[in-house]
Amino acid sequence: MILAATWDTEGLGRAGLELLGAATRLGATLGEEVAFVSLAASGRGAAEQAGAHGAARAFVVEGGHTTSVGEGAVAVLAELVRELGARAALLPADEQGGEVAPRLAERLGATAITHAVAVEVADTNPVWTRPVFGGKALATVSALAEPVVATLRRGAFDPAEATGGSAVVETRTVPAGDGAVEFLGSEAAADGASLEDATVIVSGGAGLGSAEAFSELEELAGLLGGAVGASLAAVDAGWAPPERQVGLTGKAVSPDVYFAFGISGASQHLAGIGGAKAVVAVNTDPDAPIFRSARLGVVMDCRVLVGALLAELRRSA
């Protein structure tokens, strides 16, 4: 069995479908079925959808504590992996998956492989590719102790296709924890536009020079029907909240168009935009590394171009 787990709620998001896609293809190669686990509080929709996309079994989880306190997810997944005799458990390489995967692996006496961008099977042994050194190199690794718990980068795997199948949704209860960690609340990000699902991302970096200049990206994103992203430098400067950060240590995104305004293109940033269909780089420095990853480039003060794009879009809006 190959287990795929997400925190998707209503239905499977793009990342969930990619995870399931990776699981079904890996399962087909290894001759294993796929089980899907929805770790969200209201994940029945996602579980049902997984059944229609190749999962032979689907589970929802009751008892809370899987969403924001990693312990619940670790405990329930450890039980399921053992019960199903799963050879692999796949999780999204995001904040939640990153916290759960190593702990789950340790509890199973298994191996965690994080940030995978590809998997191939050699002699029934999955070999995983993952970016290292901020994306400057790719390492191929395999697990010495099975099962393997892998987190998958968004945008790196093809999504699962609808099979017309279905799976009975089973329920599992999260074991009661020791209460060492208590979730006290969260403040949702001020604007709701999700980076992961955006088809256009307007992202800014140090070259914008000020919080005021950065804030202009909001209107630009609005006019383009997109979301605002930020480089680590912009987040460090306090112009954007951490959840807007794109890069190896932030979000991995896969929009059609990624505007990079005043972002030099540190490799840790580039590691997050590999899934973009086209990058539009705008920088005063023609030697900035971002141009090497860009489809379109403009050598210009990015603040001037932001202003010109706003004027152009307002005119045609």
């Binding site: 306190v69 990693g70 312990e71 995001d94 904040e95 939640q96 990153g98 916290e99 702990r103 340790e106 191996t111 965690a112 994080t114 993952r130 290292v132 050194f133 901020g134 400057k136 190199a137 790719l138 390492a139 191929t140 395999s142 697990a143 020791d178 209460g179 060492a180 960690v181 208590e182 979730f183 006290l184 969260s186 949702a188 990000a189 987040v235 460090d236 306090g238 909240p241 951490p242 959840e243 240590t249 059609d256 540190a266 086209a278 141009f291 090497r292 990853s293 860009a294 489809r295 379109l296 480039g297 403009v298 210009m300 171009l305 010109a308 794009l309 004027a311 152009e312 879009l313 045609s316």
Partner: protein
């Protein structure tokens, strides 16, 4: 409360991609590629520990590192910003260790220290980017862990922590002993040590332990390995960048939008 910060010295993460190389014999960057520095997230973790000490939540901060002899520099840096003690577990090369082996060494060292109630780790080392060691240490100590923290306060015996979640800022409370992994944040830029502190740091003693002293000889360490590294290849970047030029910003802006529409990447509402 005694806090231990797990440090790592890594290859300068700003080395540009075009200069980056991998030595295929050792499957790691050549040692002379660039200087080694205290990792960025380790700097954030150290700063958080020092802030907790200033706030009175932590009495003593111990900097702990597993690495080669040259990594002592990172511990000197920690002492220069007033970490109280430094412990160096000497290994030949950290690149030869997988996260499980690194965690094994660190756990053995933590167990030998005056028992801490808090261990802080960077969210991931900025070289191999596994993001595992902190969590593995927590599991092996049997402690709870909270990840991606950038603010912490002690209130009524519990650590209140704020972190970056999928959708926004999350506020949690954790009962020590606990492990936190720390992420970058404006408030967590590592402070500079004064000249006096730097001089004092050079005179301070750093405890040096060998893996064997911690009960981890070559066989025990080999048995802790979980990950096989088959190979490492430098990433290829090969995309053609088309430069958009024009008379003035307005023309360039219009052309950018036009070109994106032609490439069917953006809908153009004319």
């Amino acid at each position: 409360m005694h806090a231990v910060v797990l440090l790592k010295q890594i290859l300068d993460w700003e080395v540009p991609p075009q200069r980056f190389r991998i030595d295929q014999a050792t499957k790691r960057p050549p040692d002379d590629l660039a200087p080694k520095l205290l990792g960025p997230f380790e700097q954030n973790a150290l700063e958080l520990a020092l802030q907790l000490k200033q706030a009175g939540a932590v009495e003593r901060v111990t900097a702990l590192l597993a690495g080669p002899a040259e990594a002592t520099e990172a511990l000197r840096k920690a002492l220069a910003v007033r970490a109280d003690e430094a412990v160096h577990v000497e290994v030949e090369h950290t690149d030869a260790l997988d996260p499980s082996q690194t965690a094994e060494l660190l756990v053995a060292a933590v167990r030998r220290l005056d028992p801490p109630e808090l261990v802080l780790a960077g969210r991931q080392a900025g070289d191999w980017d596994h993001g595992q060691v902190g969590y593995l240490v927590a599991e092996r100590l049997g402690w709870p862990a909270v990840g991606l923290v950038w603010r912490a306060e002690l209130r009524d015996g519990r650590l209140h922590v704020w972190r970056s979640g999928v959708a926004g800022v999350e506020h949690l409370a954790v009962r020590p002993p606990a492990l936190l992994t720390v992420t970058s944040h404006t408030d967590l830029r590592l402070r500079m040590g004064s000249v006096m502190d730097l001089m004092a740091a050079n005179r301070k003693e750093i405890a040096r332990w060998t893996p064997a002293e911690l009960g981890l000889g070559p066989e025990e360490l080999a048995a802790a390995r979980r990950l096989d590294l088959a190979g490492v290849q430098v990433s290829e970047v090969k995309r053609e960048c088309e430069l958009i030029e024009g008379e003035g910003a307005a023309e360039v802006a219009a052309r950018v939008l036009e070109r994106l529409a032609e490439l069917k990447l953006l809908e153009r509402r004319a």
